[in-house]
Symmetry: C2
Subunit: 385 residues, 2 copies
């Protein structure tokens, strides 16, 4: 294999090692509780599946337009009007193969070789890998409890190195589950607009909040790129359907990129997604949101009681980023031993950056409370010894 290819810059996920070990344990008959995977445990909402079956009866699963089905772009525009009170022209909305596809489009529009991209550390590890693939330079901005683990305008100014600023912000955050204060998001949007920079706002966990609802970057103007997806809140991971909202000036460029690198997003998923916005679907999604909230309450309280440090209450997504330094100086070793000895799988902090990763573990509460209770009992036995 030749050295120096783009793929060389891509880091593996340590969680994949955890997952492989967990599966080996399960193959030997051990009981494993999976708190390592960032995927909701709920099935696709029934109205969505029913719409897919109806569409299949027609038998025509052809390409759609590169930007997506016009009816779905209209429906998403309606969602922004109803949920956020903002007007988004459907022509600014692009359906993509997962949020992953949306990041490809946004970065193609934002980057040129060597351009710096500011990323919160800790943060979602794919961002940096995406940026490297597009020949940009990921630049980690350390964030901690004092920033609710989020970027803000002051940090971006301090880290942009005098260049045109480009950043990806994410709220609710993976791995911390923290929700950005609306004033901070406003500050980010306005500063990037004033600098003619590019802010990409990752809103894929929107709708999964357990306190104040998230605000969208679009509530503070039309200058940011917004990424969202049907995977998390809408419970449609395997359908691989996301969307990107772009500033008006980028519509033509992004359409050209989409035509070339996707042709179109999955057709059946797009037709099915139309049904995700029905009142029946939203009622089911609200029940799920409350279930996640109850799990968050349970697991957060239990972990704190055990002696884990969770300095900012997580109030979104389905993650708790917990400091385990009361028990171990190396969260990677802690996670490996916890799995081997108790069968509880969690993700070590080193998947999320370089900011004290050895102190942290990410717990995904993608399992129901009786299972979480069992996990907490096993963890208690493990840390008490």
């Amino acid at each position: 294999m030749p050295q120096g290819c783009l793929a060389d810059g891509i880091q593996p996920f340590h969680v994949m090692d955890i997952l492989a070990r967990a599966q080996r344990l399960e193959a030997t008959g051990r009981s494993v509780i999976h708190l390592e995977i960032g995927e909701p445990d709920f099935p696709t909402p029934e109205p969505v599946t029913a719409a897919a079956v109806r569409f299949l009866a027609g038998g025509q699963v052809r390409y759609t337009a590169a930007a997506g089905l016009p009816a779905l772009r209209e429906r998403i525009a309606g969602f922004y009007r109803e949920c956020y009170g903002v007007r988004v022209e459907p022509r600014r909305i692009f359906l993509t193969p997962g949020a992953s596809g949306a990041f490809s489009l946004a970065l193609a529009a934002a980057l040129s070789p060597g351009r710096r991209v500011l990323l919160a550390d800790p943060g979602y590890p794919c961002y940096a890998n995406f940026v490297r693939l597009y020949s940009g330079e990921p630049h980690a901005v350390p964030v901690g409890p004092e920033q609710d683990f989020h970027l803000n305008a002051e940090l971006c100014r301090a880290h942009c190195g005098g260049q045109m600023p480009v950043a990806i912000s994410a709220s609710p955050s993976n791995p911390t589950g923290t929700v950005m204060n609306p004033a901070v998001l406003r500050g980010l949007v306005e500063w990037f607009a004033s600098e003619r920079g590019i802010l990409i706002s990752d809103e894929i966990y929107h709708g999964l909040e357990y306190g104040q609802r998230s605000v969208s970057a679009l509530e503070f103007g039309d200058s940011a790129f917004v990424v969202n997806s049907f995977s998390k809140y809408f419970g449609m991971t395997g359908w691989r359907l996301g969307w990107l909202i772009v500033p008006e000036a980028y519509v033509d460029a992004v359409e050209r990129v989409a035509q070339n690198i996707f042709i179109s997003a999955p057709t059946l998923s797009q037709h099915a997604a139309l049904a995700a916005f029905s009142s029946e679907s939203f009622a089911e999604l609200e029940r799920r949101r409350r279930a996640f909230e109850a799990r968050r309450d349970f697991l957060w309280e239990a972990l704190v009681r055990l002696g884990f440090g969770v300095p900012v209450q997580p109030s979104g997504a389905f993650y708790i980023y917990a400091d385990c330094s009361a028990f171990s100086g190396d969260s990677g070793e802690f996670a490996a031993a916890l799995l081997e000895q108790t069968g509880v799988a969690v993700t070590p902090g080193k998947d999320f950056g370089l900011q004290a990763p050895q102190r942290y573990l990410r717990f995904a509460y993608t399992a129901d409370i009786p299972i979480l209770r069992e996990a907490v009992e096993r963890i208690r036995d493990f840390v008490v010894g």
Copy 2:
């Protein structure tokens, strides 16, 4: 919009203008015959649709492993054993969001910034745009009737500029429909292996041949990357599912890239695709192949009789690349006038490169013979005047 972003290097498709004009004509009530689009007109084979409906009854549409469903990777390995007589380890097979996704993975493995990628001109326009997005340098290699419009080892040696050679070859070719001679493909594979270069063999039109069957680059060794898809031969465009076969040394790197930029290919499409390999499905696909062959015979003879130049008989895919210089010095103007005056939509050569594009038109025979007959009559009236 900032200047100098990656998206600036992406060319628009002229066929999109043709398509937009055709749709405007149709909106006014005019009859339009679409020979401009590279999409089969047959619906998804029934066994595939039925498998999707059965899978949906289970309701669980979760992420698959990044490389794809193990059962589907096994099945594709079986397909190579049965159709090409070659052994491919399933771990070398990656399911991707369309062949587009396979190109993303292959280029991430092949490229570093500035690396030259040899492409046949005329050829599929997305290749060059993909290469630019990944910061490589597309290098057009003029090919003509004397090479059956294909790359060969001598051309690649002459054009690689002394660098490690990287090329994308494609057979059957889009836009010419020509099939590469097996000896030429063998020469390419062996020369790239001897130079430790990277050959990406685009085999997405395999199965749609009307003379000798295509051979796969894998029949001459394990050193090439092979791209294929369920879109064309299997008639599953909107399902957005392709695959990439990688040399053993690249398996880990490509898996890392796939985890980051896709998470996984569409789950429902993967389960449905398992049924594409049934004997019932293959019987239907063979009927379709024969229908395409009859259309090829009809349209090729008719165009030659009208005075279009088709120097190499197209024997694969569903395209005829016809020289219209007997009628016009500018195929772009010819295509525009043909559409306005007769309602027949075809793609001008300028979408396919810089090698005498003004002489050529691409006809896609993705319509049945009565419609093609009507198209030929309209074209006759147009060129006779």
